[in-house]
């Protein structure tokens, strides 16, 4: 994360950190990424059973480290019903390790937003391995290929997909988009909630392709949002911590939802309040918040982070929770500079989600 404000570097993840990460990851989820609650319970259970997880700063990874990210793939709605089995979280990493014939040294996060910020904590605890303090996006995106690792040439395959019954698939695909497509089919057959491990890389590749410090960042954001900690302007505090800006304080006056190709798409209409009184804004979302507009003008787009926070508490509001009457603050924060390259914008800019708009990114971010 290119945040101007350095987060305190965490060295381990214990029970307190799990709670804080869960709160912060909901902000980095930019409306999507799934409710971190189940991930937090799983991580807490694993930490209780095996002890705190050591956190390795990206900069300290040796070049020859073997780093395997792990994540949950599928529908968060399914995950809250069919909770994974105890060994499932670690098994995706085991399967891939065996397939590669390598000895894994570190577990990593694919995304820092939502439930997948904490699934790797549970996996690392189960496997007794350290977790890398970083992730593949610095936020949450819906599709598997939408990681910086795709830009830095790390392949999504071979890829392990495991279910709770002991089934596993190892995919070898021609590119990262095919990995997304085939893994999703397998996941659906497995009951729509599977554990995956992919993007195997060495330490040098991890340093090139991961966003540094995002676990620490989620934890410090979460600490900022502990009740009473952020004072009377929690959204402002979040914006400052992320090096971003509060672009609007508003009330949600309408939410329109529709579904196409499996994604919950929609638009929320915001009526400005306070210094933004009189203006009307809209947020287009597809699980995550993607385009923020005011009066026909685009104010911000993905891959920058568009977070809708409860104005009073600073708590992140998911696109599923949005409803009339919510008092929200729209915080826009800069994405990792690598997302701002032409290749990055092609992968995760408005066009990648089918919007005709050009990317509009927060100014003043060092490239």
């Amino acid at each position: 994360m290119s945040s101007a404000v350095a987060s305190r570097q965490l060295r381990e993840v214990g029970l307190d950190e799990v709670r804080a990460i869960s709160r912060g990851a909901a902000v980095l989820g930019t409306g999507g990424g799934g409710d971190p609650h189940i991930g937090a319970l799983m991580a807490a259970a694993a930490v209780r059973a095996h002890g705190p997880v050591a956190l390795t700063p990206l900069a300290e990874l040796p070049d020859d480290a073997v780093v395997l990210p792990v994540a949950m793939m599928g529908a968060p709605t399914v995950m809250v019903e069919k909770i994974p089995s105890a060994d499932q979280v670690g098994r995706a990493v085991d399967v891939l390790t065996r397939h590669l014939g390598l000895r894994v040294t570190h577990v990593a996060c694919i995304e820092a937003g939502g439930v997948n910020s904490l699934v790797p904590v549970a996996a690392a605890a189960e496997l007794g391995l350290p977790l890398v303090d970083g992730d593949g996006m610095g936020r949450a995106f819906p599709e598997l290929q939408q990681v910086l690792l795709t830009l830095t040439g790390v392949r999504a395959t071979p890829m392990a997909v495991v279910d709770e019954k002991g089934n596993c698939a190892v995919l070898d695909t021609v590119d990262n988009r095919w990995a997304e497509r085939l893994a999703r089919s397998v996941t659906i057959d497995m009951g729509c909630s599977a554990m995956i491990s992919n993007y195997a890389m060495d330490g040098a590749a991890a340093r090139r392709g991961l966003v540094p410090g995002t676990i620490s960042l989620a934890a410090s954001l979460g600490a900022l949002l502990e009740p009473g900690a952020a004072g009377d302007d929690p959204a402002g505090a979040v914006a400052e911590h992320l090096g971003g800006r509060v672009l609007a304080t508003a009330k949600v006056v309408d939410v329109e939802r529709r579904t196409t190709t499996g994604f919950a798409r929609g638009t929320a209409v915001l009526e400005g309040s306070g210094e933004h009184a009189g203006s009307t804004m809209t947020v287009d979302f597809q699980n995550e918040n993607l385009v923020l507009r005011a009066g026909g003008r685009v104010l911000a787009t993905a891959p920058d982070l568009i977070c809708l926070l409860d104005t009073a508490t600073g708590a992140a509001i998911t696109t599923e929770q949005l409803r009339f009457g919510h008092r929200v603050s729209a915080v826009v924060a800069p994405c990792d500079p690598r997302w701002r390259t032409p290749e990055g914008l092609a992968l995760a800019g408005p066009a990648a989600f089918g919007y005709p708009d050009d990317a509009v990114l927060l100014e003043g971010v060092p490239a």
Binding site: E81, S85, A86, R184, G262, F324
Partner: protein, 533 residues
């Protein structure tokens, strides 16, 4: 005639309603720790206010906070086992993993995992293993378990395994009460399981209390069916109440809202119930409270059964008033039940919202001369603060930009202005003091469907129609007059990240309770219980 009784934490309210729902008599008495003597006293008090022929009473509706209080106080809970079907899935988080230890101890909670469960689309995760269940049953018996909560993965989609496991357990443990999660909660395994365990732990107490209610009503010579009011404002018969005590948990605020609707004649509105410490704002749509869509914590346990969506703000008759000029604050701290010693109008030393109301001439409580010295600008600013905060709370509860009428009830409602910004006139019905009991007496019953449906292209209309028909059928099975049943709510949520048209559909139907002699819910021969109340 019918009788409505609301047994609150402090007061028990009772009303006698005529066949046209007119209030014939209303009484308020202190709640007793023994439910049946409290009901007996209320019925006698009603007779005292207006003599009536007990044989002319066609139904008695009771709302009670006893069960939720028993949970909060961890009092008289049965030794309970949680049996979860879903192995090898779900083992990462066993039953009661997120419970406060105090409550696990209070229910002597034991957790069992077994094979079973379904996928989101109804396929099985693994086959049910009766031998495995028998082994668990033997262990439960050895540990003195008296009530069991069974939860199977995706049982709202497919109820089969919960029903079959219940049969196996009933054979092994014939004296043990069994609660099934698909009859209690929604999708969300841990929350549904938690609600089911809580229900199971309350089963013995529910049986005692229901027996007591029955005896008290019979003792007053009333030979009419008894119903209990549920969280969603519909009624259940006593047999259902024995089996589903959690369904009464939020009946207090619900009864108050529904009573407000009847008293004001407005059925789609926001209700502001102003008490001593808080103002609770809820929304009624066609007479029924809107339900919370998120999880609700009860005594520190996350659950997902049906609860009304209520927003509480810290403004009530006992709220502390501080500061002067434009910086006046009201609440959120309150003198609470000590209002009659602390408020200025009662000779106390603390400026409360009640003092402001008296100083402004809105209420005649205590000694008005004791607040005559209050600065008029402070009084005005405090009232403006209250009006702004309540208006804001009402606004947050609205679901559309359409204006919503506001009905004010509760002793503290004198604090509210006659007009609220954004909402217009504030309606203040008569008899607001017994709104709870009137809410309990409004006889309607409901039926609900909440499942994930697969909607193939072009079939959406058929699927919705099938779901509606099923909800209506369930309402009728629960005792509704078929011709009166209407669909109250349809909620359709496509499941994200899932292709194939998987859609969660909730339909709720309600109808008037059949009060005809020999109707399905006659109390002496309880009918089969509907799958949902």
């Amino acid at each position: 005639m019918r009788i409505g009784i609301d047994v609150g934490g402090t007061n028990t309210d009772a009303v006698l309603l005529g066949d046209d729902d007119a209030v014939l008599a209303a009484v308020k008495s202190p709640t007793t720790s023994d439910v049946s003597s409290g009901i007996t006293a209320s019925l006698a008090a009603l007779q005292g206010v207006r003599a009536f022929d007990p044989s002319g009473v066609r139904a008695v509706m009771i709302g009670t906070t006893h069960f939720i209080n028993a949970l909060v106080e961890a009092n008289r809970l049965a030794p309970t086992a949680a049996l979860r079907l879903g192995l090898p899935a779900t083992a990462a988080l066993p039953p009661m993993v997120d419970w406060p230890q105090r409550l696990v101890t209070a229910v002597s909670g034991r957790a069992y995992l077994a094979h079973g469960g379904h996928e989101f689309d109804g396929r099985t995760i693994s086959a049910l293993d009766p031998d495995e269940l028998r082994r668990h049953a033997a262990d439960m018996a050895a540990h003195g378990v008296r009530s069991v909560a069974i939860t199977s993965v995706f049982s709202p989609v497919n109820t089969e395994f919960e029903l079959r496991a219940a049969e196996v357990l009933a054979q092994e443990l014939p004296d043990v009460a069994i609660s099934l999660s698909h009859q209690i909660g929604r999708i969300g395994l841990l929350e549904r399981e938690n609600a089911t365990i809580v229900n199971a732990a309350l089963r013995e107490l529910a049986s005692d209390i229901v027996g007591g209610l029955f005896a008290a009503v019979a003792g007053a010579g009333i030979d009419a069916p008894i119903y209990l009011s549920q969280n969603d404002g519909t009624l259940m018969d006593v047999e259902h109440a024995r089996r589903y005590p959690v369904s009464t948990f939020a009946s207090g605020p619900t009864n108050s809202m529904r009573g407000a609707a009847v008293l004001s004649g407005v059925t789609t509105c926001a209700v502001v119930d102003v008490g001593g410490t808080t103002s609770d704002v809820g929304v009624l749509t066609r007479g029924f409270p809107r339900e919370a869509t998120t999880e609700v914590s009860v005594a520190g346990i996350r659950t997902n059964f049906r609860m009304p969506d209520v927003l509480s703000i810290g403004i009530g008759g006992g709220s502390l008033v501080r500061g002067g000029g434009s910086s006046v604050t009201v609440g959120p701290d309150s003198v609470g039940y000590r209002l009659t010693e602390r408020a200025l109008v009662f000779g106390g030393d603390t400026v409360t919202a009640t003092d402001i109301a008296v100083a402004a001439g809105r209420a005649d409580i205590g000694d008005a001369s004791l607040v005559a010295h209050l600065d008029p600008s402070v009084v005005k600013a405090a009232l403006a603060r209250i009006a702004a905060d309540v208006a804001d709370a009402v606004d947050r509860m609205r679901t559309s930009s359409q204006p919503l009428p506001v009905v004010a009830v509760g002793g503290g409602s004198v604090l509210l202005p006659d007009h609220l910004a954004g909402s217009g006139e504030v309606l203040r019905p008569e008899n607001f003091a017994v709104a709870n009991a009137i809410g309990a007496a409004i006889a309607q019953v409901g039926g609900e469907v909440d499942r994930v449906f697969t909607i193939e292209p072009g079939r959406r209309g058929d699927v919705l129609e099938a779901a509606r028909a099923e909800a209506v059928e369930r309402a009728v099975a629960n005792g509704a007059v078929p011709s009166s049943v209407e669909v109250l709510e349809i909620d359709e949520v496509p499941l994200p990240y899932l292709p194939g048209g998987a859609t969660r559909i909730r339909v709720k139907a309600v109808g008037d309770l059949s009060l005809a002699p020999g109707a399905a819910s006659d109390r002496r021969e309880p009918a089969a219980v509907g799958t949902r109340g």
